[in-house]
Amino acid sequence: MTALELFYLIVNVIIFIYAGSISFAYLALAIISTLEMRRYKLRNEFIDFRNILSSPLAPGISLLAPAYNEGLTIIDNVRSLMSITYNNCEVIIINDGSKDDTMDKLMDAFQLQQVPFDLLPTLETKPVLGIYKSKNKALKRLTVVDKMNGGKADALNVGLNVSRKELVACIDVDCIIEPDALLKMVKPFLEENANVIASGGVVRIANSCVVEEGRLVEVKLPHQLIARFQVLEYMRAFLLGRMAWGRLNGLLLISGAFGLFKRDIAVACGGYNHKTVGEDMELVVRMRVYMHNLNLPYKVTYIPDPLCWTEAPSTYQILGRQRNRWARGTFEVLKMHKYLFFNKKYGLMGMLSYPFWFFFEWLSPFFEITGLLFTLFLVATGHVNWTFFVCLLLVVYSFAIFISTFALVAEEMSFFKYTSKRDIFKMIGVAMIEPFLFHPRVVWWSLKGNFDLIKGKKSWGEMTRQGFVQYKKGK
């Protein structure tokens, strides 16, 4: 065997081992998720959430919603949050130095008045300009905080300082939260023997759904192909991925759009880190590390019910910015917590969750591009076994279809939100073309995000939203 042949063999073997491992990992997660979903649905069949609604023993929850330049939709969004069904709950809107009329609209719509709130600066933040309550007693749950601009993490930290309840739910103000979302999210905190420190929920795509007065009234598959790709992606990630990690107690990421945390643990850890754009994942990792260091048992749970609906990016430009940010955030968090890598002291998090994220979430686009470049090199040097190449392409494509249809089955067997028969056929079609039309872009955005991070890019990027207001029934 020549040196070149040996080189080809080594590269091929490495790529094969990687591809085999990642496929096996996704398959294992999918199977665990399916079994856990079945258990969850069976358990929930017997739960009467009215127990929580009517109980004075239910823990208090503060809903923290940072707002930046949300003037277009802020009133509808706040009204939607105020209608969430939960007795012992407060809504804290943090105006993060908006340059538009967000604050003015809030002041007018909710008759706000500044109050002498005794704010403890437990977490260091940008200055708070004022804290407001409504003169209308029907809105006594609402607190609005006006502060200097400092970013989402800083705004959430202000929310943590202002909050006086046991649990905090950190949400995106422009998401639609189901009315019974808190009842379902708080349940794990009430039923587990182990100390539940955080609970994450599913985020679903609301594009093309019918929204009336801040409530989702009809679920529809998005009209745009780009949004449908994201629907499929979210199904795979949430139904086949996080469900399994929740079961294994290895969840590292709770979506920033909707997560419930124990306030005292989040504050003890130092709150959100504003040195990263992946602040949601970073907080969960740090909370877990904190509990490990104290040698206390704990759990981070996951609720698969569709409780939070968000508007997905509707153009490739905006989607690209989002994925760029996610890639940078992932790498920043992995780098910050590199001591976890195969570190037995941190149990499953160190030995499985972190390595998984490192190898299969962060490293995966690099392997893909390496594989592609290597293939091109082989083509250029005339060393391609075309038969084998086609067989490989077939197995990769068929595995992708298999996992996507697995996600569709999981969706069908669980929450069955897309009830129209045509929607199923549309999603099958999406699953078939996604590997060609969407996945390569995702890989490219991930790579670009990592390169931008090396170049020193730290911003969020502008996320232009259309808002839900245009999707009203009968209009």
Partner: protein
Amino acid sequence: MMDPLYWIESYGFRRLEAIVLLMAVVFLVLAVFFIVLVLISRLVKSFAERRKTSYRNLFQQVINELVTETETLSVEKTDAALRLHLRELTHSSLARDTFIAQLVAVKSSLAGASAERLATAYRMLGLDTVSAKRLQSARWWKKVRGIRELTAMGCVEYLPAVLPLINARNRVLQETALVAALQLDRDSPLRFLETFQGTLTPWMEMSIHRYLSSIHGRRLPLFKNWYHHNQPTVRLFCLRMTAHFRQQESLSGLVDLANTTSDPQARVQAVYALGELEAFEHSDLVASQLRNGLDESLLLAALRALGKIGEHRHVNAILPLLKNESYPVRTEAIRSLLTIGFDVNGLAQTDVEVQQACGGILKHIQEPLLAAS
């Protein structure tokens, strides 16, 4: 049977190519299988739903007759009313389950004679034995279903069969059995605690509390009976319930605990409960807890209790805590003094240290818009 690899190789593929191709075929077949599964699932779901709806419509007429029946229900009358449907009930488990579910749903929203008629019909049709049989199932969710049906129908005679399940390993089964034991034991709802070996989770506490809130005060169990239970969660729960229901009959047990217990959490709850019961005759005992500066929870409970009791003579014991380094302690001390009627504002104006430590808290507490939330 021909080896699939051999078959693929017969087309000119090498071994490795054949393996990869076979994997591709397997995944594609599975994908097609999943697609078919999704489509069939839709059909099955809509068919099952249609059948269920037709059974519901059928049985609703029967249930309406039972509910509005004015004479005493007799076996003959029941048979006559249901004879057209009995065959369905005995031969179709879906029909039987739908009927039971409907009976349970309707009964839960009724009271009095109408509810009793439904329960009688449930027994006369032998549906209680159907539910009781579920308790023997190896599957926990079937047991849960059976327990819920028997509980909803008030079948107290099945309590001995349900009781052992309060210590089941499956959490949902345990919770369901617990609620059932609570509701079926009409004489002493919390008697099951004597044999309960598990941990009371907050969810269980809420379920128990919800039921206790629905029964008449005179039927409430004497919570002090479990103040010395071997499970700490049971002890704490009973202390919390004493406070919540302001059960004066348990006062002696609270005093005993506050004096003697070595369990710090139990002491905190006992002191808190003394405040809720406004036990002014034991205010000295409560005030003595303020001397324990190490346990912040105990300080907070004692401050709150003294505020509730409202005796002015303990003001001097509270005043030093206005300068305590803990923010929650200072806050509770202020609240307590304000409730007693002490002029904290005046003190803050004359004492610089108090003003610095408590000025912000005072403004916060006394702001009407903040007090309301």
